[in-house]
């Protein structure tokens, strides 16, 4: 502690300005990165053997009407209403699926397990799920597989061998590309920007930041990273930190990345209250409802996430393809209706595609 104190006193008195500007971005992790191509060519899938589960003695369901139940983390909130709509849309389009959504009203793993258990008993052909807990949900899903039921996850995965396929909404490098591309489009190729993240050690955020750094170096080499600040999952602290960034860098700061659904609206609020709308762009990960006030007032132009309606739609298409035997272990892609050909990644996951950017034109259609 004494050493730290002396160090801190030194840091304060010397004003360690500039020290953090050297070297790599703060807040990223040290894992290898895999930046996507600048022009939007999909990344090449690494060959990894199928690691999903296999249903026991599943009947031949090819082209036959099937009964499917969707058990999300919870029902009654905008996000899963949207995935549920996507599932219903796909079922209607396919014409041979009877799909319904049912689940707990709270994000509770025990209740989710008993819902799934009851549907196994009552007899269904397929189960879609978004797991409240990847490990705790595995036994009941394995029970479904053992009963010959097709099982596909989306949004939140289980252990791989407890389901056949998982529809992955976004990969780290895809999110990174969408964030950096949108920022470059808004502030220009030689602009400076800063990042507001949760903590430097939060795994997802650290992965995104590392991928953003790699992609920016590759595709937007003249953009300048100023610094990354921590704001935990605290909206008032996020607001304060973003405001401090604006005050510190003045006109040098052209853009702020919000790395969490808390930091992004808080940064947008900081820019609004500082009267910097139009001068400082905020691009980040966030849900549309939290960002509507800023997008509608033209203070924020791009909010990056995925489209939950498409996610539900893809999950239903994947389940149908699995039941039909069209999507088998070892496949490299699957046809998913209007979404086209989706890539198989990581052995037994289906990648939804590029992330979705919410803009003033489309944000009103979403309620989550």
């Amino acid at each position: 502690m004494l050493k730290r104190t002396i160090l801190l006193a030194l840091g304060l008195s010397l004003g360690a300005s500039g020290a953090a500007l050297a070297g790599s971005w703060t807040g990223g992790d040290d894992l290898p990165t895999n930046p996507l191509a600048c022009d939007g060519t999909p990344g090449k899938a690494e060959a990894k053997p199928y690691d999903g589960g296999v249903p026991t003695n599943a009947p031949d369901r090819k082209g036959k009407p099937i009964k499917v139940v969707d058990v999300p983390k919870l029902i009654g909130i905008g996000y899963f209403n949207a995935t549920s709509k996507g599932i219903a849309d796909a079922a209607k389009e396919l014409g041979n699926v009877d799909a319904k959504t049912d689940g707990p009203t709270q994000a509770n793993i025990d209740q989710q397990i008993s819902f799934i258990d009851n549907y196994i008993t009552s007899g269904v052909d397929g189960i879609l799920f978004a797991a409240n807990d990847p490990v705790a949900i595995a036994p009941v899903l394995k029970k479904a597989l053992a009963a010959g039921i097709n099982v596909v996850g989306y949004d939140a995965n289980s252990e791989p061998d407890a389901r056949q396929w998982f529809v992955n909404q976004a990969e780290f490098n895809g999110i990174a590309k969408a964030l950096v591309d949108n920022m470059a489009k808004e502030v220009g190729e030689d602009a400076s920007f800063a990042i507001v993240t949760s903590t430097f050690t939060t795994p997802n955020q650290a992965r995104w930041i590392a991928e953003m750094e790699a992609y920016q170096a590759k595709c937007h080499p003249n953009m300048k990273w100023l610094e990354t600040v921590e704001a935990q999952e605290d909206n008032v602290l996020s607001f304060n930190q973003a405001t401090t960034l604006i005050n510190k860098h003045g006109d040098d700061l052209k853009g702020i990345f919000g790395m969490t659904s808390v930091a992004t609206p808080a940064s947008a609020e900081a820019v609004t209250q500082a009267g910097k709308c139009g001068k400082i762009s905020v691009v980040g990960l966030a849900t549309p409802n939290a960002m509507k006030p800023y997008v509608e007032k033209d203070c924020v132009k791009s909010v990056v996430l995925w489209n939950p309606v498409d996610l539900g739609y893809a999950a239903m298409q994947v389940l149908r393809a699995t039941a039909d035997g069209d999507l088998k272990p070892g496949a490299t892609s699957v046809k998913a209706g209007k979404l086209g050909e989706l890539q198989v990644i990581n052995g037994s996951e289906i990648l939804l595609g590029a992330p979705f950017t919410f803009t003033k034109e489309n944000i009103g259609q979403f309620d989550f």
């Binding site: 801190l8 840091g11 500039g18 953090a20 703060t26 994000a107 008032v236 930190q241 510190k248 939290a290």
Partner: protein, 328 residues
């Protein structure tokens, strides 16, 4: 002391000079620290002194300062409340829910204060009449409130808040309303604690509960009132927290209760009860905001914020113990 002395509940505020320094020393140290920090950092980067940044430093932790007023009263009276962060989260959600469902704005502002009073009066009653230690009761409340909040909201946020509800974004003479709340409430309570009979009662209970009882103070009733007042301040803090942005999270900032308690303790409120002022806790909250801002201006990792806060607690508690030792 004679038990027949009828003025014991309102003693003259006469103080030994050493005790006066002891009672207010912490406030001077904190004020000096804030000024020194601002001078040093603005020397390194003059933009630190910009009006927007100074405003941000004073407004940034205003809701924590308001919550710390109530917390200080609780700690001075010899108790503690580790549930205040969760309580603020619950009250903010209640407030926002009323606001988006078309209830009058004044109701959305006052309901959290009223509910805060009721909930914490209940907590105070459990502590005072059933003699359960406050740390136990409030630890229980912490789990109940946190769990209840996540269950009820299902993690969903409240958005579409009406513009005239966002009281924390109002400004008077260019100064954000949270600063006004912080300054006026701190001044009122400091004055009241110093000169009112009940204010002295709180010090008396925290200083020596048996002596207070012998002196005729109704300790149980007073404890309930202290917790009820604390609930009112939690309610005001919740409204300021809820209206700072245009959405309300379903979770409270991690360790909010610790930040509030830290502000009180670093502000000079003795964790053993009996001494301290709310001016100190408010200055400590401002100092934390100034440190957080300084770390960004000096390019020092935010990890240091926690280290510095921890260090301040240790130093303050050690100084408090040394002072008590010397004055005995």
């Amino acid at each position: 002391m004679s038990a027949s002395n009828p003025t014991v509940a309102r003693p003259a505020p006469a103080m030994h000079p050493m005790k006066r320094v002891a009672a207010y020393g912490q406030e001077f140290i904190l004020l000096g620290a804030i000024i020194l920090l601002i001078l040093v950092v603005s020397f390194v980067n003059p933009r630190f002194l910009g009006a927007n940044n100074i405003t941000n430093i004073f407004a940034g932790n205003a809701y924590i300062a308001v919550a710390a007023i109530g917390m200080s009263l609780v700690i001075i009276s010899g108790h503690i409340d580790v549930a205040v962060g969760s309580l603020i989260g619950v009250l903010a959600t209640i407030s926002g829910t009323l606001a988006v469902n078309g209830y009058p704005i004044w109701l959305a502002w006052l309901a959290p204060v009223a509910i805060g009073i009721l909930v914490n009066a209940g907590v105070g009653a459990l502590i005072a009449y059933l003699r359960i230690p406050s740390i136990v009761v409030t630890l229980g409340m912490l789990s109940i409130l946190k769990g209840g909040l996540i269950s009820v909201t299902g993690g969903a946020w409240i958005s579409n808040l009406p513009a005239d509800y966002l009281i924390a974004q109002f400004r008077l003479f260019g100064i954000p309303s949270p600063v006004w709340f912080m300054v006026i409430l701190t001044a009122l309570v400091a004055f009241w604690m110093r000169y009112s009979g009940f204010g002295r009662t709180i010090y008396a209970i925290g200083g020596n509960v048996e002596a207070a009882r012998v002196a005729g103070i109704q300790v149980e009733r007073s404890t309930v009132i202290v917790f009820a007042i604390h609930g009112a301040f939690a309610g005001i803090a919740a409204v300021l927290f809820a209206t700072q942005l245009q959405v309300i999270q379903s979770t409270v900032p991690p360790n909010l209760e610790l930040t509030v308690i830290t502000a009180s303790v670093v502000g000079g409120v003795s964790i053993l009860g009996g001494t301290g002022t709310v001016i100190g806790s408010t200055l400590a909250a401002i100092l934390f905001a100034a440190i957080a801002s300084s770390l960004i201006f000096l390019n020092v990792s935010a990890y240091w914020l926690r280290a510095v806060q921890g260090l301040l607690i240790l130093v303050t508690v050690l100084a408090d113990m040394a002072r008590r030792h010397r004055l005995r």
